[in-house]
């Protein structure tokens, strides 16, 4: 059993607990135990917080990593925003001794010291690199044949390219491979790599602009024949799911396109009960999707 400290972030536990549940349950199928991460705080939100004060952002993110270093465990997470905060901070402090000294002098006030001993992993990367597409395929009990999936990679997972580990930031394939391993089809749609509009403080600061962006994405996905949108970030998930309600109110456009976090889709394919994957907490009704596959 490989153990990770499961960094939950804020949106998943507060809005979509199904993302947490599905992650924990599906990971167990592969011998991965996502443990409760005691004492972890907000990552803190890289766009809203990091743009305000980069030093505070680094220090708070480093504090979270220190907690995990004390237990000698790597961190696993399921959110692109948290990935930026924790992965990037971990990378930068490991690479830059001056920056590390600076941050450690702040952390010292609270009795922490960043050592650089642990890794930060996005669960989608753990599934692709450590578990592998083949094993994921083997775990499928309910093949999602005929399901058209519009994949949304999000932004902070892949960019900035120099501080990430994936080969391509413009044309990545690993998420598509993991979806197709479930028997579904990853469809191509216009502006697939476009931002959902939530991050960077945009959703809080300029909701109209944020909704305009996600509206365009949903339109493109629908035009391409999507049955479901799948993501790897609770914030994108919120924007795409709850956003449809806000779009209906603001612009009058209706898509009724179900939105799932990858681990939820994985759970369905592994034959889990939709209830235990927290699908009823979604704004957009997931029933049509379930009817198609189950």
């Amino acid at each position: 059993m490989k153990e990770y400290n499961f960094f939950l972030g804020c949106i998943a536990p507060n809005r979509y607990p199904g993302i947490e549940a599905s992650a924990v349950k599906t990971s167990r199928e592969f011998g991965i135990e996502l443990c409760d991460f005691k004492g972890a705080s907000c990552c803190p939100a890289p766009g809203a917080f990091g743009s305000m004060d980069i030093n505070a952002w680094l220090a708070l993110a480093a504090r979270n990593i220190c907690l995990s270093e004390k237990e000698g465990k790597d961190i696993a997470l399921v959110c692109n925003g948290c990935y930026k905060s924790l992965f990037e901070t971990n990378y930068r402090l490991k690479e830059n001794p001056e920056l590390r000294a600076k941050v450690n002098s702040v952390l010292a006030n609270a009795g922490y010291e960043f050592q650089g001993t642990q890794e930060v992993r996005h669960l989608i990367d753990v599934l692709h690199k450590d578990v592998g597409v083949e094993k994921v395929k083997e775990s499928v009990e309910v093949p999602l044949t005929g399901l058209n999936v519009a994949i949304h990679y999000g932004c902070h997972l892949l960019r900035p390219k120099v501080e990430r580990i994936f080969d391509s930031s413009e044309r990545p394939v690993f998420f598509d491979e993991l979806v197709e391993a479930l028997g579904a089809k990853s469809i191509d749609y216009k502006e697939k790599m476009m931002c959902c509009g939530a991050g960077g403080g945009v959703r809080s600061y300029k909701i109209d602009l944020a909704l305009d962006m996600v509206n365009e994405k949903l339109y493109n996905m629908t035009q391409a024949g999507a049955d479901v949108v799948v993501n790897v970030c609770p914030f994108c998930h919120l924007q795409l799911d709850r956003g449809q309600l806000e779009i209906k109110e603001k612009f009058g456009d209706v898509y009724d396109l179900p939105v799932l976090h990858y681990n939820q889709l994985l759970g369905i394919a592994q034959g889990m009960n939709p209830e235990e994957l927290g699908l009823s907490a979604h704004v957009i009704d997931v029933e049509p999707l379930l009817a198609k596959v189950l």
């Binding site: 390219k161 120099v162 930031s169 413009e170 044309r171 191509d188 216009k190 502006e191």
Partner: protein, 659 residues
């Protein structure tokens, strides 16, 4: 050598370059107090004629037997002052120089006191060294009356023609089956719109016909040893599997060959056979068999093909040739940057995105489409073509291997392409997305006006991304129009990426063989960027063309001419003077341990028998005076002329103010 040392020290003001920072009178007074200094004075420009006269007069009047000049870098004026010293009647190797400009006043401009103290220290050190210098005789060696040119693009061709015309036997080595390089890939050349092949082919033919040029194509330089005037070069003539003297270029082998490969000359846009010439005007017009692709069906050898001529032999081996030359010119040219690494532009992902060089092949009459510009995806003529300038150039992030420098030729060739589209396809609109339009040369700006008048559209902004309409394969180009302050999106039929130029991979190999350096941008390093761009710091090795940095054809030709002139000088003079800074073995002290044998990178040390003793001996012709053996010798038997242990130690002692 117990003759009393009388050293003259000359401190240069260098205008205000030195005098403006340090206290010259104080330095001169201090210098007079140093041991062995018989005379010290200062002057505004010691390198000038009156300055040199001052040295000569002082030598005579003060009976000097050593000279130190405290001024600029010895790398600049050591030869000047050595000559002056000789003219004064003192051996030139009794001269030494203190660098109190480049390495003192210019770098400590706000610290006059420290700089003055440092100048005194440096002069004290050089005087100490000068006290131990010995007279030496420079070696004169004959120069082989032949030259080597590596690379036969327009640079190598021009250089060889100039060398040959001045009566010098020239070996021209080219790794491709034909000469011509990248220029032979071009359709028209800016700004005159001359047909590239038309102006190049006569020169190619001249090369083939020249009695003084020995052309070796499909060949590569494998090894170079020796030194200026006496280079030993090993060249591998790769086997074409065709006897060049029997092949008459009829092309029957090509006709019957069943194997098709992408033609490298056409950047893969057109096929060639396994038996091929890269393009119809190839020089020499001899066929080559690409043995990696050949299936040995023997059709080419049949009676109705090569048959009677019997020019084809699948067992013909490579040939190794050794030549002796006096000077070498490197003309290895350029390649295009791997622009697919800039994923945002979709090169090699979207069918209708091509590079500038690929566009040349498409628009060229001998290209894959016979000169019709058509879109790769559907063969239709494009009505709107986007040009992305600075694709991979002027990129400070250097992400994905992009280059920080300007590639110099792309603005002009993009303007040329725009013109060609307007001319060939009625109604076609070219859109040039630029940061700047660099039309710097003769008639270039006028060419820019012309394209604007003809209907070229210019958008000042970088292309952020290109996406593709999956059905039409049209491209949607997103850029910021910075003059309007708006983000714009435009649908185009085709996009041309004016990608950066980069040094060829083969240049790296040649660089190691000739011990050349790179500039930080990756191109070969010249001896001096302003005053000597065609030479290197390796005596006898010169640079021609793009291998030294991006330039357009007129500048390549001028540069190649300069390289040829420089390379011909030692050959025409007949001899060169070598600095006598090589190693000498004191046979009495030598213990025959052979430590030095392993140290020398040139194999210049040998063990010989003197009487019954094993003694090391240095071959003066091979020794370059690096000092690696001298510092390793356990017996202290090796003396490095002009950089002896005694001389260096006295410099160190002077540095530490011990006397």
């Amino acid at each position: 050598m117990d003759q009393e040392k009388r050293i003259g020290v000359f401190v240069c003001h260098c205008g205000t370059n030195i005098a403006g920072v340090v206290n010259i009178p104080e330095i001169v007074e201090y210098t007079k107090t140093l041991p062995n200094v018989a005379f010290a004075d200062a002057y505004t420009y010691v390198c000038s004629t009156p300055g040199q006269e001052m040295i000569i007069n002082a030598i005579k009047e003060q009976n000097l037997n050593g000279v130190v000049v405290a001024a600029c870098s010895p790398r600049l004026h050591e030869p000047t002052f050595r000559r002056a010293t000789e003219r004064g009647g003192v051996n030139q190797f009794l001269f030494s120089m203190a660098n109190i400009r480049e390495q003192n006043t210019w770098v400590h401009m706000e610290m006059p006191e420290e700089a003055t103290r440092k100048a005194k220290d440096l002069i004290r050190m050089e005087v100490a060294r000068a006290s131990k210098l010995e007279p030496l005789e420079a070696k004169v060696v004959p120069v082989e009356k032949a030259a080597l040119v590596i690379g036969a693009g327009i640079a190598g061709i021009q250089a060889s023609l100039d060398l040959a015309a001045s009566g010098i036997k020239t070996y021209l080595v080219e790794k491709e089956p034909s000469i011509g390089g990248n220029m032979s890939r071009l359709d028209k050349t800016f700004p005159t719109l001359d047909c590239s092949q038309c102006i190049l082919t006569p020169k190619m033919v001249d090369v083939e016909r020249s009695e003084n040029i020995e052309l070796m194509t499909y060949s590569e330089v494998e090894d170079v040893s020796g030194y200026i005037g006496n280079f030993d070069v090993t060249i591998r003539q790769k086997s074409r599997y065709v006897y060049e003297d029997k092949c008459n270029g009829c092309g029957k082998c090509q006709e019957v060959c069943p194997v098709s490969r992408p033609n490298e000359f056409d950047l893969g846009l057109q096929p060639r056979k396994a038996a091929y010439v890269p393009f119809p005007q190839a020089v020499p017009l001899k066929f080559t068999i690409d043995m990696d692709s050949c299936i040995k069906c023997d059709l080419c050898k049949a009676d109705d093909a090569c048959g009677e001529l019997e020019a084809i032999d699948f067992d013909k081996p490579d040939e190794i040739v050794n030549v002796k030359v006096g000077t070498i010119i490197v003309a290895t040219g350029f390649d295009m940057y791997d622009v697919e690494r800039k994923e945002e532009w979709g090169y090699k992902v979207y069918d209708n995105v091509v590079t500038g060089l690929e566009f040349e092949r498409l628009i060229g009459a001998s290209g894959p489409t016979g000169g019709k510009v058509i879109r790769p995806s559907d063969g239709k003529q494009p009505k709107s073509v986007g040009f992305v300038l600075c694709a991979g150039s002027r990129d400070q992030d250097e992400e994905d291997g992009a280059k920080p420098y300007c590639s110099r030729v792309c603005c002009m060739y993009s303007l040329k392409h725009a013109h060609q589209l307007i001319e060939k396809i009625p109604g076609c609109v070219p859109y040039l997305f630029y940061m700047d339009i660099r039309s710097f040369g003769k008639a270039y700006e006028e060419f820019y006006y012309r394209i604007q008048d003809e209907g070229g559209k210019f958008i000042r902004g970088r292309v952020a991304k290109i996406t593709e309409d999956p059905i039409t394969k049209n491209l949607i180009v997103t850029a910021e129009d910075t003059l309007l302050g708006e983000i714009m999106e435009m649908e185009m039929d085709m996009v041309v990426l004016a990608s950066a130029v980069v040094p060829t991979e083969s240049t790296q190999k040649i660089k190691k063989l000739l011990t050349l350096s790179n500039s930080p941008d990756g191109w070969l390093l010249e001896a001096h960027p302003k005053l000597n761009p065609m030479s290197t710091t390796t005596d006898g090795v010169f640079l021609a063309g793009m291998c030294q940095g991006p330039r357009d054809i007129p500048d390549v030709v001028a540069h190649a001419g300069a390289a040829a002139a420089a390379a011909s000088i030692p050959i025409h003079r007949g001899s060169v003077t070598l600095e006598p800074i090589y190693a000498i073995v004191d046979e009495e002290r030598c213990g025959g341990c052979a430590t030095c044998i392993g140290m020398c990178p040139y194999g210049a040390t040998e063990l010989t028998h003197v009487d019954s003793k094993l003694i090391a001996h240095v071959n003066e012709a091979k020794c370059k005076g690096c000092g690696t053996c001298g510092s390793a010798c356990p017996s202290g038997a090796i003396k490095m002329q002009h950089f002896t242990n005694e001389q260096i130690m006295s410099e160190i002692e002077a540095f530490a103010q011990v006397w």
